[in-house]
Symmetry: D3
């Protein structure tokens, strides 16, 4: 049951990197509001937006052994995605593992668990999205698997899926859909640029999105003022 798949099919790097130039919220919308990790997964420091190919790691709770195992199979441009088999707040990852990960070309970490050495990770500019910050140590006792499908923070992640993280959280783009999601995201951005310009001029979404008719049809009532208390 403990298996390491050594090789992973990744999306084209132009697609991966293209998605990294867009926001998590935009991509989530562009793929029909799917793929978002739960909102308790947050960046340990603000201001980074990265994309990469998922190297998935299924670990035992409070045990980071398989992260060491996974690093051997990471390439330039990968992101580690780690999920424990039962909930754990332990600090599975810190500055030493980040040093190793960086040397292997890893761009960042997403973990449905805890992270530690956050000051050092920020100093190194190694981005992490985690459930909590915790110094709790982990052991190296129980096997797990690398590059199997995992459920991380409520989403299915396949090895090689595209992972995008920013200050809003993390979104997973299935590898095969990545090119068309990139296209749809760019289209969405262009549409939003038009909306933004109209909003800036003070126009209302009610008007240029044509919502007024539907509001009336649904029965919205306008009254001048709430009666004096």
């Amino acid at each position: 049951m403990a298996v390491v798949y050594k090789n992973v099919r990744r999306a084209e790097s132009s697609v991966v990197d293209g998605l990294g130039g867009l926001g998590v919220a935009t991509i989530h919308e562009a793929q029909d509001r799917t793929g978002l990790l739960a909102s308790n997964i947050n960046p340990i420091f603000r201001g980074r937006r990265i994309s990469g190919s998922a190297i998935t790691v299924s670990v035992a709770p409070c045990d980071n052994w398989m992260i060491h195992v996974a690093l051997e199979w990471c390439h330039d441009g990968d992101i580690l995605v780690v999920a424990p088999t039962s909930p754990s707040d332990a600090g599975f990852f810190g500055e030493l593992l980040a040093t190793s990960a960086r040397a292997r070309g890893v761009r960042g970490l997403v973990i449905d668990g805890g992270c530690r050495d956050v000051a050092e990770l920020e100093a190194m500019d190694f981005p992490v999205w985690s459930k909590c910050i915790s110094a709790t140590g982990t052991v190296k006792e129980t096997l797990g698997s690398v590059n199997v499908p995992i459920v991380c923070a409520g989403q299915l992640v396949q090895p090689g899926d595209v992972v995008v993280g920013d200050d809003d959280g993390v979104v997973i783009v299935p590898r095969r859909n990545a090119p068309k999601v990139l296209e749809a995201s760019i289209a969405r951005e262009e549409k939003e640029a038009v909306s933004r310009a109209r909003y800036q001029k003070g126009e209302l979404g009610l008007d240029f999105h044509g919502m007024r008719d539907r509001l009336l049809k649904e029965g919205l009532t306008y009254i001048d003022e709430l009666a004096a208390e």
Copy 2:
């Protein structure tokens, strides 16, 4: 049941702005420790203190339609206060709505739900206090109401109430009480300045607040040292 009250009585702008010069904790104390939103409502970025008049919005969970509706009735100096009718972590508000809100003179948002595009909102310097950061998209399907009394994060908010937010959270000042709360807050600040000066000199609150007698009367016992273990 879905109603928009178009006009709202607001407090004097000198009062609203005066309250914005004081801290949330001070105002909360000055109005007898009332009006604080729950402590899980936090700023999406630090370092802003704002005040404004509440435009209240009651929305369906995962539905931001009524925020669009509310923007039409916002004036310079308003703050949107949004509460879903059942709990929701969705990202009801992002950079496009903030662009529209700013164009209408809105100073910020308070929401018992999620917010997204937080990097862009910080770049725009548009302050938001929310329950979480979440990229989850919302729909525009179900009517709600604007400028009705709502319960937001455990507090009753009436349209036109004064809203003050800073790094400590958000406090609501009922419109009619605002002038006297402003006065009481200023008085409190002056009293605190005196205390601060005495504390800085190393005086103890025990002494200049005269607590020693009451401590003794209540039975506090002083012992030199805990017996060796």
Copy 3:
């Protein structure tokens, strides 16, 4: 039952300060993964690492009276460690108490409760680790105790124990163990420096920590690639 122990045995200041030069995660590991406060205790602002001797304060929920009492017995280099007798999110501590604490030589606060005036505390550079940020006021009605053993965020804290806090959280080092924990922490840091250098060169922990044999013995299987979906 309400007692103030006036004097506390503290660790040598060289030991206390020595521990302050090391990270919470390192110290936690060096003392066999003990002593960490729960991971919901976080710094109110980032970037500080401090150490000090614990002045323990047992308070009633929503009541900060005993913090005033405790300040009288604080020395240069102490850290206040406060735990309510039942859970409370109130804002027990703010800028005025911090002013007094600083004048008494206190280096910071650890509290299993809420803190307020966080913008002011950051401006003063007074570090606090708390369960939440909350402006909720507290009363001065019920006695508690100072310098008794307390349970704070899941850990037993004795007066005079060494407290170390940084961005990863807070660890408690029992006073008597402090010298040997300092030694073990320094040894650990030296060992980590060696590992870091090897990681930076791209070596794998699998190799230089000799994990491969044990992985095989436990039954880890390597497969080239996950079969096509």
Copy 4:
């Protein structure tokens, strides 16, 4: 600020009792999905459905003094509705207060806090809906108010509002709306009886609620079977 309003306008007892014959979910639907307390308010034992007129009590956290004060103003058929001014899990209410409450004609308690003596309360058949079960003691130190509007578990409750509780939770019916909510609830029950009969025969809601057209129009696609993995 600490006030006791001695008298409360209540709904007709026939209306109050009529609502007690219906379920919380039905009433909540019949008044446009409003009035439900948060879903963390649960009965301390199962199998009771009660209704009554709200006697509201605003208490300090961990302080049950005002419940004693409120009991003096309770009538036959009332329900105590208690909310602390800041969150508290303490055990505000137990068997002794229930004995007193029963002697005053009180039918039950709703509290956004903790309750204790739950075995004894079940033996007495005194129903309580609370946030948790907790033996934590409370004090009698700080004043609060009786029969003022309060926010309890996210809902505004006015004194004299009708309170209905069952295994699904608690719903508040504003006093003035109570007669028409009763009527609407009964109408809803009758409609549901028709639906129930059709469901029992194996008919689909899709058919007798006529949903198929709208599903197609919205774009729902039917496919025979998921392709083999």
Copy 5:
């Protein structure tokens, strides 16, 4: 994106029913500790153990439309497994839907959301495992999918997987593995019967599981008594 797969491959009914005669904990162990839903999924009433084939339903938050759609494709012996696309505590399911489900042969419901009418559901003996009990109403506005793979309470569920629920929670057995998991579960039960008999006689697991050597090798120390405090 909104798709209904009408037909589902199910496991042999003898296998499905065989698994229903075993406990959730046993099955979870027998399939290498995989497949358990998160521990916040609990039965709405105690004392039932059921098994069935998963009909999966992906719904919008606070929207139960697709449950109506799914019922058309349910067979005797199925269990509905429902997951919202973002977290929701609403009451998606109650007594009317249960009446319809029962008429279609459905044995029960598993939902990562809320359930209502729990007294009626218990009276009908219709078992449900849910995240909470909530009377909150839902809408029928947004499409979802039926019989697609979903993530429910942290586990991937494929249509046709075997679902087993009891007082300990819910476990998912992938359809193809079901026969061998049944076999392994029975073997485990037999082994446990032997252990039980030895435990009942007062034998220690330390002895008949032969743990003593390994404990000593790992360094466990036995001391007569903790030194007097």
Copy 6:
């Protein structure tokens, strides 16, 4: 660091059993509102009240090895008190361990973690207080300690302390204080019997506890009725 203390000083069995005849809430009050475990520790089934002497067990998260080790040192009348060194929801204890525990004379279990086989445990009438119900399996990999002081659900527990559990939760009585806490609890019960009789007759606590003067002195105001809205 992994130590088993084989012998424990226990309180007199008459004292232990005497405390078991009283309620958790009463004992907690009688020892100055100390010793209660956190309110998230609940019985897995209702209706049992037990007392016993604490055998303390410090376990690794998701690892129940040391419970096996502890059973060897249990006597008639003991209660196992188990705390993991970092938070864990795993199911550390089930019917087989309960069978062994019963054979050793153990009366029940208190655990700041999960429990499984709850239907079987109820059928055996083996009471457990736990943080959750979870079928998640545990391993036997990491040493811990038996009969050392532990922190369990926020309270320090020493081996040999008296543990009392009922439907309200769990309270710890330090061994040396047990005789006088028993006495104080009995005195409290007698006082409560008097109060109960007076409450039953309809007397108000306000009167026979003489609260009216203090209420007036603190400034409580009585008003006939809230002004019409």
